[in-house]
């Protein structure tokens, strides 16, 4: 495996936009220690390319016609292609990042990232590490913590966990018992639990609420 370190990193680029594809190929091609072994304009095309199997790192766009970046990640995994994937996209919504990481992406880069970051990311991922720029990492962490509960639902959840009835919660928040019931139903649905007791235990376990005193 000694030559492995000296051998150039073989990169496969998947992006539906030709300008991006050309630019990236040119840019990465000029880098020492890197070799663009192929470029595909869609996930489907990438899966059929023989280079996919030999590539070390795949740079993957998120939004593409046909298979999306996430779909392509899953498909690569299914096809037992071992190449490590970095998401390279213009999107940075929490959900995008979250889903990409869940699908097995090892890096997440924005297309306006400086060249140095990009090189560093490719090297890091190739070396088996993860690479997330600071703000992406922060938002990923935030997303992991967050639930879809609204602030009012969190309030209701907090009181519910203290064992209050709907009526008592309603009195405490100055809303009607019906509204509380709606909130509770919505909480149960969002947390994917079966009843209010389970909602409370799940919320505490996931740190959504704290039971002080």
């Amino acid at each position: 495996m000694a030559d492995r370190r000296d051998a150039p990193i073989r990169i496969l680029i998947v992006d539906d936009h030709p300008v991006v594809l050309a630019g990236l190929t040119s840019m990465l091609g000029t880098q020492a220690g890197m070799e663009v072994v192929g470029s595909a304009s869609s996930g489907e095309e990438a899966l059929e390319m023989p280079q996919a199997r030999s590539a070390d790192v795949v740079l993957l766009d998120l939004r593409m016609p046909g298979m999306s970046g996430i779909d392509t990640l899953h498909a690569l995994k299914r096809a037992k292609i071992k190449a490590r994937a970095i998401i390279l996209t213009s999107y940075e919504t929490d959900e995008d990042i979250y889903r990409a990481v869940q699908a097995g992406a090892l890096g997440y880069l924005l297309k306006d990232a400086p060249q140095s970051d990009m090189i560093e990311a490719i090297r890091a991922v190739h070396g088996g590490k993860r690479y997330f720029p600071r703000h992406i990492a922060a938002r990923l962490a935030e997303r992991m913590m967050r639930t879809d509960l609204t602030s009012r639902e969190l309030e209701v959840l907090g009181m519910l966990a203290r064992g209050l009835t709907n009526k008592e919660i309603g009195r405490g928040l100055a809303i009607s018992g019906n509204t509380v019931r709606n909130h509770v139903n919505s909480i149960i649905e969002k947390l994917e639990v079966s009843d209010r007791t389970e909602a409370a235990t799940t919320a505490i376990r996931r740190g959504l609420i704290e039971l002080s005193n």
């Binding site: 936009h17 040119s26 306006d112 703000h135 602030s151």
Partner: protein, 727 residues
């Protein structure tokens, strides 16, 4: 995009609904206009109902399960059925009540009015004058097509005949059978330009008559042929069978046969009042019958007289009679007892005298046929199932008594407070008035009652219903309006989303690609300090900056899900994202009782907030950024405050997207405030009025407020949240 598809689906659904509706209406119309709807028809006279019949003239009443017209009126009609009936037949048993005139059946009748021949259709009748069966067409005029003598014995009154009238295409056939004689006679015409469809009717001319077993059924060509064939046979047989002597079911009185001879020795009816109370004198009067049941009333030009239990032939309204009997004068009218009535001849019924209720109550018109108007106060059923109407005209109250039977339906439909015109015999006899009212009107049939106007619409119930209905309508209108607004806004948000995608797919990608390409060129240059390299670096930075700008535009365009999420939460997240873990502390606060904000207002507030937060983060470099959302009764206020650099407010200073924020605020009629001083931070406040909540309690208040503003300003108050996009 899902919206156009949704729209298309809605359009298709609407189109299908319209189609179904149109088909349904067409089907309903076809059903209503179908030439056989309601056929066969069989009368229910024996059950005492005849609601489906409509009278034009005459005194049509049900008696003993038969329809009876006691009036000598010429061309009295009773109509029923559908005006779209085409090929069908009508048959009935008919009994004439008078020696002059005719009675029979009408087929395919349209455009009926009151009057002798005021209809368009065919009539077949039995005429006593020349012992004939007549058949012809009435078209607001009478074209007697043909006639023949049905029986050598002649057509006699008070005898039953069976008449059948059939219309098939343009052939009209009439067949009469005298059951007692067992002979049939027929008449047929072929009218070139025939009436195609029409209703059925019973009709009499001067004679009056009784009808029973009225049946109408569809006719086919075979039926027509059958009738014609049978008639042909019977006509042949007729010549073979000698005619049996006429034997009538109702014995024909002697008077019918004798030529009536008026007595010369008659006196005026009003002179009867002068007779002595003590010794009842025998007198003879002449007059016209105005009422037959429950009491016989005879009237001449001077007044009327009531004749209880007379010895009399069957009489009809309109018969000229001579009455001889004991006179019992009353206060206002006389009574003749043990009277013998001789029928002279039939004449036109006398028209009523139009009087007011006050005039009628004087007794001047006692026992005469009058016409009075009045307002219906109440109705009740009297003894013997008679129908009693309580009426008044001004201060004068009176009663009207109707016979049961055909009037039942009309009676049940009458509404209190209706204005009525009634014709009847004015009776002041306490036997009828029971001293409750000054006079009582005895109505002959329900044609004597005419509803001039229904009760006024502004009865309490109606007004309440009206108010409730208009309130509901207003509510529906308001909710529809908001729904439409909501759809429109959805469309805008979706369009924004589409635009964001579009920009992402083209602009942002191109920037990224060009950036990479420039970087590649830079990488290829050996000398990193050459001027060309520096220029390339500048170009790289420019592209990156543009890329960032594009990404920000896209992020702004992408709609947040404000329908299910609170704007404060969304703004808070937006601010934290912009700060990106920097040293700026973001505080979000909510005050007041949270309530749903309409999507349009929420979206605008969010956009303004986003811009304000971006301004603060980018330019002011604050330590603390406070986002506050305050709900009050009918408004919501968004305040974004920072403790950053601030700036000098000048009127010409329109940067930092302030103009945009102001315009957005204007679009929802929100008050926009900006406070800023150098080194003292910036505060932006947007206060938007929320649409009033439509609850039962808030309605009167809102109406009052609206009305007050409207009248004070002399122009309609501007809506709290105008939905215009004018800047």
């Amino acid at each position: 995009m899902s919206f156009p598809r949704l729209l298309r689906r809605r359009a298709v659904v609407a189109l299908l609904l319209c189609l179904f509706l149109a088909l349904g209406l067409a089907g309903l119309r076809a059903y209503l206009h179908s030439p056989g709807r309601g056929l066969p028809y069989r009368d229910s006279f024996s059950k005492g109902t005849a609601e489906e019949w409509k009278a034009l003239g005459g005194t049509w009443e049900l008696a003993n399960g038969m329809m009876r017209n006691d009036s000598d009126e010429r061309g009295a009609k009773l109509l029923s059925g559908s005006p779209y009936w085409h090929n069908y037949s009508i048959e009935a048993d008919i009994n004439l009540l008078g020696v002059s005139g005719d009675a029979g059946l009408v087929i395919r009748s349209r455009d009926e009015e009151e009057g002798v021949n005021s209809y368009n259709g065919y009539y077949a009748g039995l005429r006593t004058r020349d012992n004939s069966l007549v058949l012809g067409r009435a078209e607001h005029g009478w074209i007697e097509v043909t006639k023949s003598n049905p029986a050598p014995g002649g057509i006699r009154p008070f005898q039953w005949y069976h008449l059948k009238l059939m219309a098939f295409d343009c052939q009209i056939v009439a067949v009469v059978t005298a059951p007692s004689q067992g002979t049939s006679t027929s008449l047929a015409i072929n009218d070139q330009d025939c009436v195609q469809t029409g209703r059925i009717g019973l009709r009499s001319y001067s004679s009056g008559g009784i009808w029973r077993n009225v049946v109408a059924r569809s006719a086919t060509h075979q039926d027509l042929a059958e009738v014609l064939r049978r008639v042909g046979n019977e006509r042949n047989s007729e010549s073979r069978n000698p005619v049996a002597p006429a034997s009538s079911e109702i014995p024909s009185p002697e008077q019918q046969k004798a030529v009536p001879r008026p007595s010369a020795n008659t006196q005026n009816i009003d002179s009867l009042l002068l007779s002595s109370f003590a010794a009842p004198a025998v007198a003879t009067i002449r007059g016209v019958v105005v009422l037959t049941t429950p009491l016989l009333f005879v009237q001449d030009s001077t007044g009327g007289v009531s004749i209880p239990q007379p010895t009399a032939p069957p009489l009809k309204v309109g018969d000229e009679v001579e009455v001889t009997g004991e006179v019992h004068p009353g206060d206002f009218s006389s009574t003749m007892e043990h009277a013998k009535v001789q029928m002279l001849w039939a004449r036109t019924p006398v028209p009523p005298v139009s009087v007011t209720a006050s005039q009628a109550s004087t007794g001047r018109y006692a026992a005469t046929f009058v016409e009075v108007q009045g307002r219906l106060v109440g109705k009740e059923r009297g003894p013997d199932n008679t129908l009693i109407l309580d009426l008044d005209e001004g201060p004068q109250s009176f009663r009207a008594i109707m016979n049961p039977g055909r009037s039942d339906y009309l009676f049940s439909k009458l509404k209190p407070d209706s204005s009525l015109r009634l014709r009847g015999i004015c009776v002041v006899d306490p036997a009828f008035t029971k001293n409750l009212t000054p006079f009582v009107l005895l109505l002959r049939s329900n044609e004597d009652l005419e509803v001039l106007a229904g009760p006024p619409w502004w009865s309490t119930g109606h007004v309440i219903v009206l108010i409730v209905a208009s309130l509901l309508l207003a509510l529906v209108g308001v909710s529809l309006y908001h729904r439409v607004e909501h759809w429109r806004l959805r469309a805008i948000l979706e369009e924004r989303e589409r635009l964001a995608h579009e920009m992402h797919d083209t602009l942002a990608q191109s920037f990224a690609g060009i950036g990479f390409q420039l970087q590649a060129i830079r990488n290829g240059l050996p000398d990193h300090s050459s001027p060309i390299n520096q220029q390339l670096e500048l170009a790289c930075n420019l592209v990156r900056h543009s890329h960032e700008e594009a990404r920000r535009s896209i992020a702004t365009l992408r709609s947040e899900d404000l329908e299910s999420e609170d704007i404060l939460v969304a703004l808070d997240r937006c601010a934290r994202r912009m700060v990106e873990g920097g040293s700026v502390e973001v505080v979000s606060e909510r005050e007041g009782d949270q309530r749903t904000i309409p999507l349009r207002i929420a979206d605008t507030l969010y956009r303004i907030g986003q811009e304000a937060v971006a301004n603060a983060v980018r330019h002011a470099h604050p330590f603390l950024l406070t986002i506050r959302l305050t709900y009050s009764g009918d408004s919501v206020c968004l305040q974004i405050e920072d403790d950053g650099a601030g700036f000098v407010q000048r009127s010409d200073l329109q940067g930092f997207g302030i103009r945009g924020m102001r315009r957005r605020a204007q679009s929802i009629s929100a008050a926009f405030q900006l406070q800023s001083k150098p080194d003292e931070g910036t505060r932006i406040r947007v206060e938007a009025a929320l649409p009033p909540r439509f609850t039962l309690a808030s309605w009167p208040k809102l109406l009052w407020k609206y009305g007050k503003e409207h009248w004070n300003n002399g122009r309609p108050a501007r809506r709290a949240n105008s939905h215009s996009y004018r800047g």
